[in-house]
Amino acid sequence: MHNSDNSEARIDINILKEIARKDLVDALNSVNGAKTLVLDASLAGPLGLVTEVSLLKHQGVEKMFWLESGPLTSSTTNIVYLCRPRIKHVKTIADKDHIKRHAKESRKYVYTLLLVPRVSTLVSRILEEEGVLGDVTISSYNLQFIPVADDVISLEHENTLRELWVDGDETILFDSAQALLSLQKLYGSFPQIIGKGDFAQRVATLITRQGAKSTTTSRNTILSTFPRIDSLIILDRRVDMITPLLTQLTYEGLVDEVIGVKNSHVELPLSLLQPPTPANANTAASASTSPPSGSAIPVVSVKKDNKKKHHLTTATDPLYAELRDMNFSSIGRKLNRVAHRLDADYKTDLQSKSVPQLRDFVGKLGGLQTEHQALRLHTGISEMIVPYTRTDVFNKSLEIQQNLLASYEVSAQLNAIEDLVAQGAEMQIVLRLLCLASLTAGGVKAKNLESLKREILQVYGYEYLSLLLSLSSPHLSILLPNPLPASHASLPASKYPFTTLRKSLRLLIDDNPEALDEVENDISFVYSGYAPISIRLVQCIAQKGGVISNPADKEKPATETGNADGDLKQSSAGKFQAHPIVGWKGFEDVVAAIPGQTVEITQKVENSVSPAATSLDVVAFSGQTSRDSATTTVVFFLGGCTYTEIAALRWVGRQNKGRNFLIATTGIINGSNIMEGIAGLTTSVKNPSAV
C-alpha cells in the first residue's frame, strides 16, 4: 500500500469495532436464556460490519426475523427487538401483528426493546399510547462509529440529509456529538475544532459543552499510546452540496453510482464471486460479453442473475486497495498490468525445477490464487460498469456537468436537461443536473425552472411535487428560482457563491491533454478535472499550499511523467512536512463567503503533559510535537460524504508526511441516494405496507 510509511502511526480504529461487539454481547446477555431476535432491516448492514451471525448464536439467539408487519411466531419466550427509535418501527412492534396479537391469542412472551443508539422518550410515549408500554422492557445498544475502511469510520445513518434539512430533526447532531465525544475519550481530546456550517457549529458547541463536563472524570481513560489527534474538522454537507450531485469518477465511486454500495457491501452476480468452475465460467462469459451490436442493455442483463452480497474490503482483497481511488479511466490499464504480472508470476514459477523452488512456488500458490480471484472480480465489475459509461445518457450528463461547472452556456445546458427528461432518463440524473445548474448559476431563471419542473412532474408523476418543494425549501435551497421569491429573500446568504469559489479555491483544472498531468496531481482527479469543494476546504486547513498550487508539481522534474500512468504513487522523498493546524488562517475571506457559520474553537487539552501546556498557545504546542511524530486530523462530514471525497482526502494525506486523516461521516452518500432520501415519503408510498 502507498501509505505503508504512515500506517504504523495510524490510530487503531478497530477498537471501535471491538467496543461495538462487546456492547452488543452485553446487551443481548441482559436477557436471560434463549431468545428470538427481531431486527430492524436498516441496522442489518451496520451490524454486519461489526459482528457475524455466529456471535449472535453464542448469545442465545435462536432465530432472527426482520422487523416488519406480519405475524410473528416465536419458539422462545424472550423476544428481543433491535431497532432505531423510529415511530414506524415502534408501531409495528406494538401493533396487531406483534404484541397486541400475542396478547389477544394469550401467548405470553417477554419483550425487550433494544434501541440504537439510545433510549427515547418518544418510543415509550408511543408504546404508552398504544397501551403496551407495560409489556416491554426498554433498553439501549449504543452503536456509534463503525469502521468501514482502515481510515474511515461511519455512523452508517441513512437519510441524514432529509432529517436535518427537510424535516429539521436534529437528533443526528446530538448522536454525532456523542459519538465524537466517545472518540475523544478513546483517543484523546481534540485540541482544535474547526468547521463550517450552521449544524457544524451546533455539533462543535455540543462537544465543547459536554466535553468540559466529562474531561475531569475521564482523565484516566485517555491512552497516551495513541498518536495524537491535532484537530477535528467538521464540515456540514450544506457547505458543499455540489460535489455529491456530480457523477463520481473513481472506481469505488462508480461502483457506488452504477451498482450501488450499501454498508460497504455490493450486490454482485453469483458467477463473479465463486471461483470459476468450467461450467459457470461459461455462464460468466456469456453474461459479460456484450451483445454483438455493442452499445446498450448493460445493467439490465445482470439483474436476472442470482445475486449475492459481497463485502468490499481491503482486508481480504489487497487489489481493491490499489483500485478503489483510481480514476475509472485508468482502471483498464491497471487491471491489464496486474493480469500480466500474475501471468508472469505463474509462468516463472512453473519453470522452476528444483524441489525447493517448487515448494516455494506451491507456498505462494494460495496468494496467487486469491489475487487471481480478486482480479477476476474486479475485471467483472469493470465490465459491468463500462457499458454504462458508454451510454448516451451518461455521457450527456457528464457533459452537462462539466459545462455547468464552467458556467458555459447555461441555458443550452437547461435545454439539454429538458431533452434528457423527454427521453425519459432516470429521474435522479435529471434532478441532480437541475440542482447543479441552480447551485452553480445562483438559481435557474424562474420561467425555465417552472417549465422544467412541469416536465418532470408530467414524466415521473405529480407525486414528486413535494420532493421539488423540499429541494427548494429555505433550509436545503439547492433548487432555487432566479430571482428569489419574496419568501426566500428574508433569508440572507442562501445563495451559493460558486463562481467566486471556483476562482479562489481553484476548483476547475482543464481537462485538455497537456493539463492531464496536472489533473492527476491534484484532488481533481476524482472528477476528471473538478476539485471537490469540501476537500479544498479541508486543504485550506490542513494543506494550505495545496489550494493554491499542486504540491506534486514541484517534484515533477524528478519523477518525470512516470506519474501520469495514474498510479498516484508519490515518492516519499519529495513529501513536505505537514504544517501545524492554524484554523482557517489565510482563507478567512473565502470561508466567510460560504453561507453558514464558521467554527474555530480551541479546546483545553486535558492531557497530563504539564499544566503549563494548557495555557500555552496551542499553535506552537502542536507545531512542536508534530515534528517528532505523526498527528491525526479527524475530518467529520456531517450529512455524509462520497467515495470520491474519501479518495481525494486520502490523496491529500499522501502528499504530506506527519499527518494522517481519519475520515468520519454520518454515512456514505451519492447523488442518487440523496435524491431518494429527500423524496423519502414518496418512495415509501411506492410499495405501501399494510395501512
Binding site: T77, K91, E170, P292, E450, Q458, V459, P485, A486
Partner: protein, 845 residues
C-alpha cells in the same frame, strides 16, 4: 487492656478459633426484642423494629398502646435514629437496601424506601400484584422477591421503581414452609434464584424455570443461604441442621439442634457467621455451629437478634451488641498461644524492644528472611482489631520491623493507618457504625460517606472525604438539601417577605459554601428540585440559575410549570429526546391552542422543537398536525400534508378530494401559483384516468400514473386518439410526445404503426434515436429503414449496429470515407465480411 485472645474460643480441638467482640454496651436502650419484628442492615447498619401484633403484650409497660403500626430504627449502639408511623395497608415485610434505606412493603404491593431522615419514595408492584395481594417477600440488598396470594413470584430489580418481572410459576397450592432468595450477583447465571421448601423437597425457581430438587428430608423450617450464595443452611422440623451446597450436590455438615443443652422453645434464627459457620439462636441462647459440627454456646440475658455479615455475624441483645467471627489468619498467627510464626516473633521482638530487653535483637535476627511477610501480617492484623490500643501496638510492631528492611512499600502501612483512623471515628458510639476493616473494603469509602450524610453527620463526612481525598460533592449536595429542609422548618412562621429574603440568603449560603469547598460540579438542579419539593419555588428558581447544564434544569422546570423556559433549555441542550420529553409532556397537559401558541411565539428559538413535533405528528397524530399548520397559516405545509395523504390512500375519490384540498391551500398563497397550477393539472389527470379506466371496464390500470405513463398506456392499449388528446390538454412538448410514442409503439411491437408515425411528419427528435432504440430492444432489422433518414456521417455505424455490414460498406464508399471503412473492417465479425470489405477498399482510391 485485655489481651485479644481473651475473647477467643477454640473449636475443632484447638485448630480454629472464634471470637466474640463486644462492640457496644447498650443496657436498657432497646425495647424487648421478642415483642418485635426486626430487620437488620448489613455492614454495621441499623436495625428496624416493628411491634409484632401476633404477640400478647402487657399494656402500659414501656410504650403506649398504639393501634397504628410504627417502625423504629436504632443504631447498633442503641441510639434511636428514626421513628415513623405507617398509615398504608398492612405491612408484609420490611428490610434494608445496600445504601441503607428501609424498604417497607405492604399487602397492596406498594413499597416505600425510607432514608434515615424519614423521607421516602414510593413505588408500586403494579395493578396485578395489588389485586392479588402480597403475602410475603424476601428483601435483599439490590432488590426483592415478592410472593403474591396466588403463590406466584415477582422479582424487583434495583430500587428505582422498575417494573417487576414475573418469575417462573412454581405451581404451589399452599404457601411454602419457608423460603429464601439468592440475590442475582451471587449466582452464576446472574439472575435471582428462589428456594421454596415444599412438602419434603425444595423447589428452585428463576425467571425461566422451576426445578424440583427431589429432596426427601423436608419440610424445612428455615432456609438460609450463605453470604456468598454458595451454601445453604436448612433446618428441618425435627431440628436437624443440614448444610448443603446451593446446587444440592454436596452435603457439608449435619447437626442435631434438638440435643443442645439449655435450648428451649423453637429455633428463632438460623444465620450464617461469615461463610463457614452457622449461628442458631433460641431465646437467650446462641449456638455457633462450626463446619464440622462442633459448637460454641453463648448465653445472653434475654432475646437476641443476629445479622449476618460477610466476615461474621452481629448479635444484638438487650444489653450488648456483639460481633462474632472466626479469628482472622493474621491475628491468629500473631496471638495464638505458643505461636512461633515470624509475625508472632516480630510482635514479641517489638514488645521486648519497648521493654528495653536485648532479646529483641536476637528475635529479629531469627526471622530476618521472613521479615517482610511478618510486617505485612502485623499491618493486616491491626485492621482486624476493634480496640485502638491493640491497633496501635500492631502498627508499631510493623513499623519496628520495617526499620530492618531495605525496601518495603509503605503504601499498605499508610493506608491502614488512614483507614483505621476513619473506622475508629465511625465506631464511636454516637455515630454507631461498627464497620469492620473487610466490610469497609468491600462496601467502599464512598459508601461510608453516604451513610454518614444520611445520618446528617455532614461535618464528619466532609472531614473524612477530605482525609481520604474524595470529592466533597455528595456531602455538599446532601448538606444543601438538609439545609433547605431545616430552613423550611424554621421559616414557616415568618411572613411572605421574610421568606423571600430567606431564599436569597439560603441560596447565597449554599453557593458560597460550594465555591469555598470546591464543589463546583455539584448538580444545582437536584438541590433545586429538593427546594421545589418542600414548596420553595422561589429558592428553586434561584438555585436553578446556578446550574450550568441546561438539560438538568428541564425536568424541574417542567414540574414548576415553567413551560417555555423548559422548552428553550431543552432545545438548547441539543438533545432531541429531551425536547420530545418536554413536548409530549406539554401536549398532554396544555390545551391544544395554548400549546400551539407556545411554539409559535417561540419563533426561531423554538423552531427545532416545532419541527420535531411535526415529525412525530406526521406518523402518529395527523389530525393534530393539520390543526397545527392551520392555526399557523402554513398553507404550503398544509398542502403538502394533503398531497401526502393523497399518495397514501388507495381510494380513488378520496385521493382526488385530497389533491383538490391541496390545490386550494396552494391557491391561497400568492407565491405558489405554479404549485396550484400543477396540482390542478394532477386533479384533472386523475379524473381523466378514472374515465379511462371506466371505458376499459377496469381491465387496464390508469389511475395514479404520470402523464407520460398515461399516454404510454393509451398507446399500448389502442387508445391512440386519447393519447393525442392528453398531449394537447397537458401541453406536452412534441419532443417528449415523440419519444413516448416511439417507445410505446416499439414496446407494443407495432412496427407498422411506428413507420406511419415516423412518416406522419418530420421527427422533432430525429431518426437516429429510432434506430438506436430499436437495436437496444432487440429489433435491429426494423431499424434499418430509418437509417437512410439519419445524418449521413452516422449512417455507417448505424448500419453496423443493425448488422448490415454490406450497407455500411456501401455507405462508406458513397462518402468515400476510407478511414471509416478500415475502422469497421477491424470489427468485422467474420472473414466473409473482411474479404468483402477488402474488395470495396480496393475499388476506392
Amino acid at each position: 487492656m485485655e489481651h485479644p485472645t481473651s475473647s477467643w474460643q477454640a473449636m475443632q480441638e484447638g485448630n480454629v478459633f472464634y471470637r466474640k467482640q463486644q462492640c457496644y454496651s447498650i443496657p436498657g436502650k432497646l425495647p424487648n426484642l421478642s415483642d418485635y419484628i426486626i430487620a437488620g442492615c448489613k455492614y454495621g447498619g441499623p436495625i428496624a423494629l416493628m411491634r409484632d401484633h401476633s404477640k400478647l403484650i402487657a399494656l402500659g409497660r414501656t410504650m403506649p398502646a398504639v393501634t397504628k403500626s410504627q417502625i423504629q430504627v436504632y443504631s447498633p449502639a442503641g441510639e434511636g435514629l428514626l421513628l415513623f408511623s405507617w398509615d398504608q395497608g398492612k405491612i408484609i415485610r420490611f428490610g434494608w437496601t445496600i445504601d441503607e434505606k428501609l424498604v417497607v412493603l405492604n399487602e397492596e404491593g406498594t413499597y416505600r424506601l425510607y432514608d434515615l431522615q424519614g423521607d421516602y419514595q414510593q413505588h408500586s408492584l403494579g395493578t396485578e400484584a395489588a389485586e392479588l395481594g402480597v403475602i410475603d417477600a424476601k428483601i435483599h440488598e439490590n432488590g426483592m422477591v415478592v410472593m403474591t396470594s396466588a403463590l406466584t413470584l415477582l422479582e424487583v430489580k434495583g430500587w428505582t421503581g422498575a417494573r417487576p418481572l414475573v418469575l417462573a410459576n412454581p405451581g404451589l397450592s399452599e404457601p411454602p414452609h419457608s423460603w429464601a432468595a439468592i440475590p442475582p450477583d451471587l449466582n452464576i447465571s446472574r439472575h435471582v434464584e428462589v428456594l421454596l421448601s415444599v412438602d419434603t423437597t425444595i423447589y428452585t425457581v428463576d425467571n425461566l424455570e422451576n426445578a424440583d430438587q427431589r429432596i426427601s428430608r423436608g419440610p424445612f423450617a428455615h432456609v438460609s443461604p450463605s453470604p456468598n450464595g454458595k451454601n445453604l443452611a436448612l433446618l428441618t422440623a425435627a431440628g436437624l441442621l443440614w448444610v448443603v451446597s446451593t446446587d444440592f450436590q454436596r452435603s457439608m455438615a449435619e447437626f442435631d439442634t434438638s440435643n443442645v443443652v439449655g435450648a428451649t422453645g423453637a429455633v428463632l434464627q438460623v444465620e450464617w457467621c461469615g461463610n463457614d459457620a452457622i449461628l442458631v439462636t433460641w431465646d437467650s441462647l446462641v449456638v455457633l455451629v462450626g463446619p464440622f459440627g462442633d459448637i460454641l454456646q453463648y448465653f445472653y440475658s434475654g432475646p437476641t437478634f443476629a445479622i449476618t455479615e460477610l466476615d461474621g455475624v452481629r448479635v444484638i441483645g438487650q444489653e450488648v451488641c456483639d460481633f462474632i467471627q472466626k479469628v482472622p489468619a493474621s491475628t491468629l498467627s500473631i496471638f495464638r498461644p505458643g505461636s512461633t510464626s515470624p509475625s508472632a516473633i516480630l510482635f514479641d521482638a517489638w514488645e521486648s524492644f519497648s521493654n528495653k530487653s536485648p532479646k529483641s535483637d536476637e528475635s529479629i535476627r531469627s526471622i530476618r528472611p521472613e521479615l517482610a511477610k511478618a510486617v505485612d501480617e502485623c499491618i493486616d492484623a491491626a485492621g482486624q482489631e476493634w480496640e485502638a490500643h491493640w491497633q496501635r501496638r500492631l502498627l508499631n510492631a510493623a513499623k519496628f520491623g520495617r526499620g530492618f528492611l531495605d525496601f518495603h512499600n509503605p503504601t499498605d502501612f499508610v493506608n491502614m493507618g488512614q483507614t483505621l483512623k476513619v473506622l475508629n471515628a465511625v465506631h464511636y458510639f454516637e455515630v454507631g457504625i461498627p464497620l469492620t476493616y473487610s466490610q469497609y473494603n468491600y462496601a467502599s469509602p464512598s459508601h461510608l460517606i453516604t451513610r454518614l450524610t444520611s445520618r446528617n453527620l455532614h461535618l464528619l463526612a466532609l472531614r473524612i472525604s477530605g482525609f481520604l481525598d474524595l470529592k466533597p460533592d455528595p456531602v455538599l449536595k446532601h448538606w444543601a438539601c438538609a439545609k433547605i429542609l431545616k430552613a423550611k422548618a424554621t421559616s414557616g412562621v415568618t411572613g411572605k417577605d421574610a421568606e423571600l429574603g430567606g431564599d436569597d440568603e439560603i441560596c447565597r449560603m449554599i453557593v458560597e459554601k460550594f465555591e469555598e469547598l470546591g464543589g463546583a460540579e455539584v448538580s444545582y438542579a437536584e438541590i433545586a428540585k429538593k427546594a421545589w419539593e418542600v414548596g420553595r419555588g422561589g429558592l428553586a428558581t434561584k438555585l436553578l440559575d446556578h446550574e450550568a447544564k441546561g438539560s438538568d434544569q428541564v425536568p424541574l422546570l417542567l414540574t414548576m410549570k415553567e413551560d417555555k423556559l423548559a422548552l428553550v433549555k431543552a432545545v438548547d441542550s441539543g438533545d432531541t429526546d429531551l425536547v420530545y420529553h418536554v413536548l409530549l409532556h406539554l401536549h398532554k397537559r396544555l390545551p391544544l391552542g395554548s400549546f400551539f401558541r407556545l411554539l409559535e411565539e417561540g419563533g426561531q428559538t423554538l423552531a427545532p422543537a416545532s419541527k420535531l413535533l411535526e415529525v412525530y405528528a406526521r406518523e402518529q397524530n395527523r389530525e393534530m398536525l393539520r390543526d397545527f399548520y392551520y392555526s399557523d397559516d402554513r398553507r404550503v405545509e398544509s398542502a403538502v400534508l394533503s398531497l401526502d395523504e393523497a399518495s397514501r390512500t388507495t381510494d380513488q375519490s378520496a385521493k382526488i378530494a385530497a389533491v383538490k384540498t391541496a390545490q386550494k391551500f396552494f391557491s391561497e398563497d400568492k407565491d405558489r401559483s405554479f404549485e396550484a397550477k400543477v396540482v390542478d393539472e394532477q386533479a384533472k389527470l386523475l379524473a381523466i384516468q378514472q374515465q379511462l379506466e371506466n371505458e376499459a371496464d377496469g381491465k387496464i390500470k390508469f389511475f395514479g400514473l404520470s402523464v407520460n405513463e398515461t399516454m404510454r398506456a393509451c398507446i399500448l392499449n389502442g387508445f391512440s386518439k386519447r393519447a393525442d388528446k392528453i398531449k394537447h390538454d397537458f401541453k406536452v412538448s412534441d419532443k417528449r410526445f415523440w419519444y413516448t410514442k416511439m417507445y410505446a409503439l416499439v414496446e407494443a411491437k407495432d412496427f407498422e404503426g411506428l413507420e406511419n408515425f415516423a412518416k406522419s411528419k418530420r421527427s422533432p427528435i430525429g431518426y437516429e434515436v429510432f434506430v438506436r432504440h430499436l437495436v437496444e430492444k432487440g429489433f435491429p432489422r426494423e431499424g434499418i429503414q430509418y437509417i437512410a433518414k439519419c445524418d449521413s456521417s452516422k449512417r455507417a455505424d448505424l448500419y453496423v449496429d443493425c448488422g448490415e455490414w454490406r450497407m455500411a460498406a456501401k455507405e462508406c464508399k458513397e462518402r468515400n470515407d476510407k478511414a471509416k471503412l478500415e475502422q469497421l473492417k477491424q470489427k468485422a465479425p467474420n472473414s466473409l465480411v473482411v474479404r468483402e470489405y477488402e474488395q470495396v477498399l480496393s475499388t476506392m482510391k
